[in-house]
């Protein structure tokens, strides 16, 4: 294997592993704000206990997010040096803004959130929780802006020749609000809220099944259920608008989502299927004729530009994009169904009678995790063979100073270390969950202070 494919695997591995954590912390931060706010409003100690417990979980998730996040920034330079030279003028500003406007806010207030219980007044602590949440959301803003610029570049012009060719900013705000920024950001944030909410649902459902910490579990479950239901529906809407933007600005990616080959015809929507790239069709699938056209244009007969309208060297690998996209949609639909069924049964006060459903909720934490990963895979692989859509090919973006042996070495090390971290993360999460929220010493100590 050459340095290109190895670098792609390494970036994919490290970003996918990193992306387990930030969505959970973004989503969980919203729940923390609600829980702590409820405590300050009601003075009911159960909300204090909830806040403490979920803050500890948050701390663990955040630590892994930090540890794996710095890798990402470095890899732009280490593995994708030519890309960095090409985009630095545009992309770098967004990264610098992320550091200054988001990470500092997040880390500063996180210190108070985690360690400041006895050091600041409850109101100040609550404010810190809110700022941690803002900071977490802002970091998503800037990195998604930067990524969206790679998908739908705007606000730049290309100057220079040879090794000096690069994109330069002409309009900062057009770069920031490039055509896909808002839709992709809202889609990403909804996914993050889902990740946080379903994590809380899963742990609470586990306690409910085991009949442990019942009051704690019921209240956590209720808050999380509402967020899960709302964000899952919003996710459908933001996904819909994202797809419209993709069709308009990256038509070849949209065609790959659906493996829609005909150059310009009404497009069906496949519930599932297997792409036959050689014959350029979908086998063993169930398709609803005209549905994709209808979703995009409110007209089942409207033509959708297909893959054949693009030369093969500008098409992404269709089968992978199709499958990741479709599994994301399937899981997303499942999460809507699950959360609204849960909400309905909760309202009828019957949910706790359905043990199988609680069991499904225990597993549901994996839903947003998988859907978020699959969504990013379809978005990023769908952008191939370009690293910056229609401007720079991925193959042109790699570091010339780095050879395959070096990347193999670092890739193997990342593989081993991340496997170890994942095992430790799951082990420690399980420990915390088994230990439960009852942490009487801690509550007493805080009260004494």
């Amino acid at each position: 294997m050459d340095a290109l494919i190895l670098s792609r695997i390494q970036f994919g591995l490290t970003i996918a592993f990193h992306y387990i954590f930030p969505p959970m912390s973004i989503g969980l931060s919203v729940l923390l704000v609600i829980m702590e706010g409820m405590y300050l409003k009601t003075k009911n100690e159960i909300y204090q206990q909830m806040t403490h417990f979920w803050v500890k979980i948050f701390g663990l998730i955040f630590a892994l997010g930090v540890a794996t996040g710095i890798v990402m920034e470095f890899e732009f330079g280490t593995n994708w040096a030519t890309y960095s030279r090409y985009v630095g003028d545009v992309f770098g500003s967004a990264l610098a803004a992320e550091g200054i406007f988001a990470f500092f806010m997040e880390s500063g207030f996180l210190a108070i959130l985690l360690f400041g219980w006895n050091r600041v007044k409850p109101g100040v602590h609550f404010l810190s929780t809110i700022f941690v949440s803002f900071g977490a959301h802002f970091s998503a803003v800037w990195i998604v802006v930067a990524n969206s610029w790679q998908q739908t570049p705007a606000g730049h012009h290309v100057v220079g020749t040879g090794v000096y060719e690069r994109a330069e900013i002409v309009d900062f705000w057009r770069m920031v609000f490039n055509p896909s920024s808002i839709d992709r950001l809202s889609h990403t944030l909804c996914g993050a809220w889902q990740a946080g909410a379903f994590l809380v649902l899963s742990v609470s459902a586990y306690y409910l099944l085991r009949k442990r910490h019942l009051d704690f579990a019921r209240r956590s479950f209720k808050i999380a259920l509402i967020i899960a239901a709302v964000s899952s529906i919003l996710q459908l809407a933001t996904g819909h608008y994202s797809a419209i933007v993709v069709e308009k600005h990256q038509p070849v990616k949209l065609a790959a989502f659906e493996a829609h080959y005909p150059a310009s015809e009404s497009a069906p929507y496949h519930l599932f299927g297997i792409v036959n790239e050689k014959e350029e069709r979908v086998d063993y699938g169930i398709a609803i004729p005209g549905l994709l056209s209808f979703l995009l244009h409110f007209d089942a007969d409207a033509p959708v530009t297909g893959l054949k309208a693009f030369p093969p060297d500008k098409r992404p690998p269709v089968a992978v994009v199709f499958q990741t996209y479709h599994f994301m949609v399937i899981i997303g639909t499942g999460l809507i169904a699950l959360s609204w069924l849960g909400l309905f049964l909760w309202w009828r006060k019957k949910l706790l009678n359905y043990r199988w459903l609680l069991f499904v909720f225990v597993l549901s934490v994996l839903g947003p995790q998988l859907a978020n990963q699959l969504g990013w895979f379809s978005a990023e692989i769908g952008r191939q063979p370009f690293i910056v859509y229609n401007l720079l090919r991925t193959s042109e973006g790699i570091s010339k100073a780095v050879n395959a042996n070096q990347v193999v070495t670092s890739l193997i090390l990342f593989g081993i270390i991340y496997l170890l971290l994942l095992a430790l993360f799951i082990y420690l999460m399980n420990e915390k969950i088994q230990h439960g929220p009852v942490d009487s010493d801690f509550v007493k100590e805080v009260q004494r202070a």
Binding site: G88, G92, S93
Partner: protein, 342 residues
């Protein structure tokens, strides 16, 4: 040889400022890591960790932001250095990963082997990270082989030269000194007295390294002293540096621990300034072909982007300083272990 305060120079100063913030702040928590294994009891080790507990993560953000600013302002430097130093930076990253999780994981389990494992991991990764940073710095000072396109053409072993190793060791010494002073400031009782005894040792260790590095630099790396020769007033900065270092033992004896720490911070700022003046206007000196060097002009982004970054900095940096000062203020005083501690 005139210094012109144009957009590029100001951007250079900004990136330097961010990395100085990183050195001064993360420097002490890396140093605490380097000294960690010299403390023996579980309680003392927890005190060490919790002394940096609320701040180490924010300290590391200075690196992330400095990196982002370098990427934005001087993308060709970012690309060349990061890809050229590939394996070195990978080791640095693994160090940072192990450090972060060691701090978080260590006190989560009571088992002795578990805690020992993460203690070792924390300490070794702190030393390795500091050392690699120093080696990278040493190579930037000394110069690295670049081709006409500004691409690195050496290998991993090019980076492992005596001068770079010396700067690496000096960095570990500097951070250990800085960390020891920080711990003295943040602790009381037996740990405090113990570390107080170490401060002078770390200072001596650092001064020995520092004098050797300086002499070798003066003799073998003439391009570092061009501006000092041109503007003798700049010698004020090494002078401030020496006064600041000399002041540390004095403050420690008088138990003015906070002032000792400020002295140490001032010394590090002076060192970073010396480094900045030394390499200016280059960012990466090319050795042997100096004409291939990456400068603040040939490696820079467009004036438009530089002014965007400076705007972001003008808005952002005061806010960042406010956060930083607030957090250090809220967590002022001696560290005490409670239920939210590591």
């Amino acid at each position: 040889m005139n210094i012109v305060f144009d957009l590029n120079t100001v951007s250079f100063v900004l990136v330097g400022l961010l990395f100085t913030g990183y050195a001064v702040l993360d420097g002490f928590d890396l140093g605490v890591g380097a000294l960690h294994l010299f403390t023996k009891t579980d309680e003392q080790r927890r005190l060490m960790l919790n002394a940096i507990g609320p701040v180490w993560d924010g300290n590391e953000v200075w690196l992330v932001t400095g990196g982002g600013a370098l990427f934005a302002a001087f993308p060709r430097v970012y690309a060349t250095v990061f890809s050229g130093f590939y394996m070195a930076f990978m080791i640095f990253l693994f160090g940072l990963i192990f450090r972060a999780v060691a701090i978080e994981f260590r006190s989560k389990e009571p088992m002795k082997w578990w805690r020992n494992l993460w203690d070792i991991s924390f300490s070794v990764s702190s030393i390795v990270s500091s050392f690699v940073l120093g080696v990278a710095l040493g190579n930037i000072i000394r110069g690295i082989p670049l081709d006409a396109d500004g691409e690195y053409i050496g290998t991993f072993w090019t980076l492992i030269n005596p001068y770079a190793i010396l700067v690496g060791i000096t960095t570990v010494a500097l951070f250990s000194m800085h960390g020891a002073i920080y711990v003295v400031m943040k602790t009381e009782g037996p740990l405090h007295e113990k570390i107080r005894g170490w401060v002078n040792k770390t200072i001596i260790f650092f001064i020995v390294c520092y004098i050797s590095t300086t002499m070798i630099t003066l003799i073998y790396i003439p391009h570092m002293i061009i501006y000092f020769r041109e503007y003798p007033i700049l010698f004020g900065i090494p002078f401030i540096n020496m006064v600041a270092i000399a002041n540390i033992p004095r403050e420690i004896i008088h138990r003015n621990n906070f002032r000792a720490f400020l002295s140490s911070c001032a010394a590090m700022m002076a060192l970073m300034t010396i480094f900045g003046i030394g390499i200016f206007p280059n960012l990466v000196h090319s050795l042997p072909l100096a004409e291939n060097s990456l400068t603040i002009y040939n490696a820079a982004s467009s004036p438009k982007t530089l002014s965007i970054i400076l705007t972001i900095a003008v808005i952002g940096v005061p806010v960042v300083l406010a956060y930083t000062v607030s957090v250090y203020w809220i967590f002022r005083g001696k560290v005490k272990l409670d239920a939210s501690s590591y």
